[in-house]
Symmetry: C2
Subunit: 525 residues, 2 copies
């Protein structure tokens, strides 16, 4: 398809209202055609009025119809796989092959949410039948289902321009819930955003849905994002990005006269703990794997195993040496944006200023925005004394922490703030420390990985991509996996309703063949 750079307000393609931009190629440092339109508060307002107008019909689509719409988006994503991967590669400096895989996985996510919609368990239907003879007072019939919150504003991430962007998991799960969506395109990949937006816009039309189900806006600076967060018709906001960006958005939303859910997924160092038995048995293997996983996407991944902690002893030198040898193999590669590169350089310097020593590095940068692979080391004492050493460095740097004892390892584990994931490498001989460490990790993280690494992320029913602050703004939700839909629904109880006025999922005959909680027991009758 030919990129036009327009905004998508419902079914309309809208030219620039407040300026425009070109995409940046991190690999060449050059700007890429075409011009991409900027909108402002007026475009946000139009998009949200349309979304609000679409809510009544879209939120009440039948489950089969909504699922078919999600499947259609999946088909259409796959149909533009090569084009989307090529453009995304151009806008990120990352290999097209990586994005071909990302398109396939993203299409799979839409299909999985189509299944979630067909299964209808996310409706959490519950029925407490009438008990007219109950004493001291009769019970009326009560039936509960979850309903969609309303229009959702979605801020895509810079680092995964497909799976966490316009057609990413936030959009898939919000659409699955029955919420119209307004996406703010990330300016780091406007062309990739347009291709994805076009796919969804076309799917809305082909499915015969209200055009307000999907809009895609773009703007300079923070103005358009603020207009989105401030808009009275927005019923929920999602964001994936930095802690500073997520908190600014969150704080902004708190100034609204009403309260709406704002889910921000922000920062995580995903600490990896290697216990003595595992260290002695396979220190070198773990060191190599750490760097291989850590360098994925030029270290620009929320699940990067940024910090590895181990007690100095048998295997530590082997782990360190293997990691140092591996990091030397990684060329400097272009980072996503010049801004991210600058922040990376500053973060590395900050770590070095706090005493982190360099164990090894990859080839020196060639281009201005190249990020050099780096392996640093600090002691447990340093890590415990200096909170910034426990913070994220977004880019291809990994930090080893050399501890003096298992006691210090447990103490270091307690020092971390909330995390998306934590990893534990342990053998049978490490059982005692394992049992001490697990509850510490459980309190601080949304996922614990045993003898493996947490990246790549599995997207399924048992997935959690969430965790206590600052990993996210609300640890009770996940932004990846089938549970992500729960962010966008709320319970409504229908009391004493005649059957014909009840929503279909709650009718007496269970016409959709759903699992329902009847009088406190799960049943399919």
């Amino acid at each position: 398809m030919t990129l036009t750079g327009e905004l998508f307000i419902g079914a309309e393609r809208v030219p620039a209202a407040t300026g425009s931009m070109k995409a940046f190629s991190p690999a060449t440092g050059e700007l890429i055609e075409p011009e991409f339109a900027f909108g402002g508060p007026a475009e946000v307002d139009r998009a949200l009025r349309l979304a609000d107008d679409a809510y009544d019909s879209y939120s009440h689509t039948g489950l089969a119809e909504r699922a078919a719409f999600l499947d259609l988006i999946a088909d259409k994503l796959e149909a533009v796989k090569d084009e989307l991967a090529t453009r995304t590669s151009l806008e990120t400096g990352l290999p097209a092959a990586q994005f071909e895989g990302e398109v396939v996985r993203t299409a799979a996510v839409f299909r999985k949410f189509a299944t979630v919609v067909r299964q209808g368990r996310f409706l959490q239907t519950a029925i407490d039948p009438a008990q007219p003879d109950r004493l001291p007072t009769p019970r009326m019939d009560h039936r509960l289902q979850k309903v969609a919150l309303g229009p959702v504003a979605i801020f895509g991430a810079s680092n995964f321009p497909i799976s966490y962007s316009v057609a990413g998991g936030d959009t898939a799960s919000a659409l699955a819930a029955g919420c119209p969506v307004v996406v703010k395109a990330h300016n780091a990949h406007p062309g990739a955003s347009e291709i994805q937006g076009r796919v969804i816009q076309e799917a809305v039309a082909e499915a015969g849905l209200h055009p307000g189900v999907f809009s895609l806006v773009r703007g300079p600076g923070n103005e358009i994002g603020e207009a989105l967060v401030d808009h009275p018709l927005v019923r929920a906001v999602t964001f994936t990005g930095s802690e500073a960006g997520g908190m600014a958005l969150y704080r902004r939303a708190q100034r609204r006269p009403d309260l709406i859910p704002v889910f921000t997924e922000m920062t995580s160092v995903n600490p990896t703990f290697v216990l003595p038995g595992a260290l002695a048995a396979r220190g070198a293997e773990i060191g190599t794997a750490l760097v291989q996983r850590g360098m994925y996407n030029v270290g620009q991944a929320c699940l990067k195993p940024a910090i590895l902690l181990a007690v100095d002893g048998p295997g530590y030198a082997e782990l360190r040496d293997a990691a140092a040898a591996e990091v030397k193999k990684w060329d400097a590669r272009p980072m996503l944006t010049p801004g991210i590169h600058d922040t990376y350089a500053r973060s590395v310097q900050r770590h070095q200023d706090h005493g982190a020593t360099t164990l090894g590095h990859g080839a020196a940068p060639a281009g201005d925005t190249d990020g050099q692979a780096l392996l640093l080391e600090v002691t447990g004492e340093q890590l415990l004394a200096e909170p910034t050493l426990r913070e994220e460095v977004f880019g291809p740097t990994l930090l080893l922490v050399k501890l003096t004892s298992e006691k210090e390892l447990l103490e270091a584990a307690r020092a971390f703030r909330g995390q998306l994931s934590a990893t534990l490498h342990a053998d049978a001989a490490d059982r005692t420390t394992t049992e001490q460490l697990l509850p510490i990790l459980e309190r601080r993280t949304g996922r614990i990985v045993f003898n493996a690494f947490s990246i790549p992320q599995e997207i399924s029913y048992a997935s959690t991509h969430g965790g206590p602050f600052p990993a996210t703004s609300d640890s009770r939700f996940t932004s990846v996996g089938m549970g992500a839909i729960e962010r966008f629904v709320r319970p409504v109880t229908y009391q004493n309703f005649p059957d014909e006025l009840l929503p279909e999922p709650l009718r007496e005959t269970n016409p959709l063949d759903l699992w329902r909680l009847v009088d406190g027991e799960l049943t399919r009758r």
Copy 2:
């Protein structure tokens, strides 16, 4: 039991640190013995350190053990029924018989949550088994369960001194989730609070649990509440009360360096819509019932049907006259506190200043804090023009809204902010308007009641006591009913774990016989 007025910090009974108070009898206007101790930030800190210390063991109690603890609290509540009801009556001016019923219902809530714990569905266990041969990449075993958030600070309501207070639904659901609890006693009923606190403190000891599972603090002014909300170890806050109070607490929590869930249940006028067919058929019956429900608890109920809307036509005069006749039968009765009485008087005056006319009233007040029953009326035009007429008057006042058309009725429905409940009285002849009205109500409320009233509240699986702002701070949750437990848990995924290190609910043999989501399908194997 003899009331001592002490604070309960874990197993300890602690005398006053920063002053004391006596209870107030609204019926006599006199102060009642004994002195009740005030604590301050130091007592809050002790309570939360204990709670945090209790978390690891309490959140990992077996389901059977935790359920038995909740049942024990229920038994002990029933054992003090008469004493608790008598003291609560003394502190509220409301009849003891009402509180005997409330104790029975509150004990039942603990038993219901014991059942919820035994059923274990709140753990939302999901298992995606390993698929070592999957292409292009193998899948590791992923298992998810919900875990308790951590220590919860609970602010009881003034108006239901048992069911929304120390041993109320918030405490029951937080304890069921596995969260230690620190309750701030409401100063309107310190004796009732002490009796309930004693019951839970004793149950903790008898069950052999860590004493930090429960603490009860009390203080003057806002200082102790702020200390609770600010404390770094608090992991969630719940509040039931006014919009001003709830929002002050919510805003305070937003100043924390970390984000924690704050669930506030605040304000609702529970609009009742009477459509023409129902109005003509049974206007008088509805008018009488409206007042009877509305006067419950001297109108001091979050589910009071505060505003009734109907189109002027056949049946309207009958409804109005029946309501006016009924309201005359209601004596002025003492309100919960002098402050609530003053706010009530001001709110009534505000409505009258905005043109509400008086259709009828009960006997004039005898005591200083008596609230006079009042029936007001405005036109639809007035209601639409003046937002404050759509706001809550906390006390025994009801407002009729006389509309000119069904179109105006729908417009008025759209003008309301978020509500806990809405009620629709309609006959078969009202089908068209019913179908137009239902989606409007669904967007604005957590519960829709058909041809009945929303009070009393049923406490079961299909209950929702929640709704869009300002009914609550987060419409995705309920504070009443079995779903209330969801406020206090978050998902954790255990990836690639050996079976013996998994939490019991996730083990391969399903030793607890739980319903689990295995590969996306519900099963009990």
